[in-house]
Amino acid sequence: MRKEVPLLITFVVALIVMLSQVTTGNIPGLGVAMPDLFERYISPWMTVVSAFSLCLASVNLIVVHSRNISRKQSEWIYSLILLGTLVIYGAWCTYIQINPDNTAAASNYSLIYNYILSPLMTGQWACLAFYVASASYRAFRARNLEATVLLASAILVMLGATPVGGVIWSKFPVIQRWLIDIPNMTGQRALLIGAAVGSFVACLRTMLGIERGHLGIGGS
């Protein structure tokens, strides 16, 4: 019971979801089609269960940081800041979700969302531009022939992608196009096929219960 039921749940749910992508028409005797079964039951159920698991994970976050604060561990003040903002945003956002009619609360929330959370997010994103620059400088070394090929195609694409490349040599955009259209497309396609085969086998093993470590059930 402890082992079999979870494996059975995975198998049955996976089978329904998979068949919902493949079949049409009603299931004999049930008067409902697989795609409907997925849309009406599995999918909304998943939304609800996922929401519960987000709350579970948040419990972990809250416990870890509360512990930092209560034990006055080093840098506990930051844990306090984290928990403080979590409570403010959490309570406010929950209120709006449950009371969608209160437009004043919603518009105030969108202020703290748009002018605090959102710039923090885009500010962090923009750091990627910095890191691209430092990684280029520090790590993109022509250590061997393979690395040189990587570097050369990267530089050619960069030159072709901006107007200044076309000014330096009119053929740069042509080369860039070719690199994107032919070798890049080929590589992407091959990696896509390979990854799909790998993920297919991984899924099959999980669906059949051969792989079960993630459930905390030992031994295959």
Binding site: Q21, V22, T23, T24, G25, N26, P28, M34, M46, S50, S53, L54, C55, L56, A57, S58, N60, L61, V63, V64, R67, E75, Y78, L120, M121, Q124, C127, L128, Y131, S134, A135, S136, R138, A139, L150, G187, Q188, L191, L192, I193, G194, A195, V197, G198, S199, F200, V201, A202, C203, L204, R205, T206, L208, I210, E211, G213, H214, L215, G216, S220
Partner: protein, 260 residues
């Protein structure tokens, strides 16, 4: 109930290759044939990663990626969890300080279970702490910010990034590189590979992610699965070659068959 048009070939191919894979798994388990995998350098480096952290008395960080288990990123995440299971073993063996960060809440219960069982299996149940696995944030940017914060705060010595990654890959990897953290990245996310190559000490790419579990554990069943994977690829290569020949000869029969 009938198979929807356009899926007939796909459905029967699914059945056929499933049977093939099940056969290779069983055959390998029974020792009917021996499967050896070519060396994958990046995976060998994981033990070095943990060992180094232990020597320095600082934590090892592991991330199972940004993917979820309820979407098409499920196989990437499950593969990452197999790697997590191996890393847990090594960490328990070395008594290393271990830190796992989680982005997707759905992955959290799976990861805690994997780590807890790993410590129990290694007879180190006492060393297991419930703050080893930490949920950070479901937002990918906030997740990256939180992990970078942990790198600084906990003085992480080495970091293993496995699974699906998005644009945040470079934020994590380059911040770690600036702190001198030893890194191994294992991902099938094509767009992120160049950045991992630039910032990490070892990068394991593409399909190797799904082979990692078998490679690290040397489990016969898993190795059989890898052999099955190779057969499928040989079949695909065959289909593409035949299709190209027939197309060149002016026939679209293969295309029609595949889209049946």
């Amino acid at each position: 109930m009938t198979i929807a048009p356009g899926n007939v070939f796909g459905f029967w191919m699914l059945i056929a290759i499933s049977a093939l894979v099940i056969y290779t798994i069983r055959a390998s388990e029974r020792g009917k044939f021996k499967v050896t995998i070519r060396p994958i350098a990046g995976l060998e480096a994981i033990e070095e990663c943990v060992g180094r952290a232990t020597e320095m008395g600082r934590p090892v960080h592991f991330s199972p990626g940004l993917g979820d288990i309820v979407t098409t990123s499920a196989p990437d995440t499950l593969a990452a969890l197999q790697i997590l299971s191996y890393v847990t073993d090594v960490a328990a063996k070395y008594d290393a300080r271990f830190l796992v960060t989680i982005r997707m809440p759905n992955v959290y219960p799976l990861a805690t279970e994997t780590v807890r069982q790993g410590y129990i299996a290694a007879n180190k149940a006492d060393s297991y702490r419930d703050n080893m696995v930490r949920y950070v944030s479901s937002d990918q940017d906030a997740y990256a910010a939180g992990v970078i914060g942990l790198f600084h705060q906990e003085q992480v010595a080495s970091s293993i990034l496995a699974g699906l990654y998005m644009g945040e890959a470079l934020l994590l990897a380059e911040s770690a590189a600036r702190l001198g953290i030893m890194q191994v990245a294992i991902t099938a996310s094509v767009m992120q590979v160049p950045f991992f190559v630039a910032a990490c000490d070892y990068t394991v790419i593409g399909e190797e992610l799904y082979a990692a579990g078998a490679y690290l554990t040397n489990d016969k069943g898993r190795l059989g699965g890898i052999a099955g994977q190779d057969y499928i690829k040989l079949i695909v290569i065959g289909i593409i070659l035949i299709g190209t020949l027939m197309t060149s000869a002016g026939s679209n029969a293969i295309q029609s068959l595949l889209t049946m």
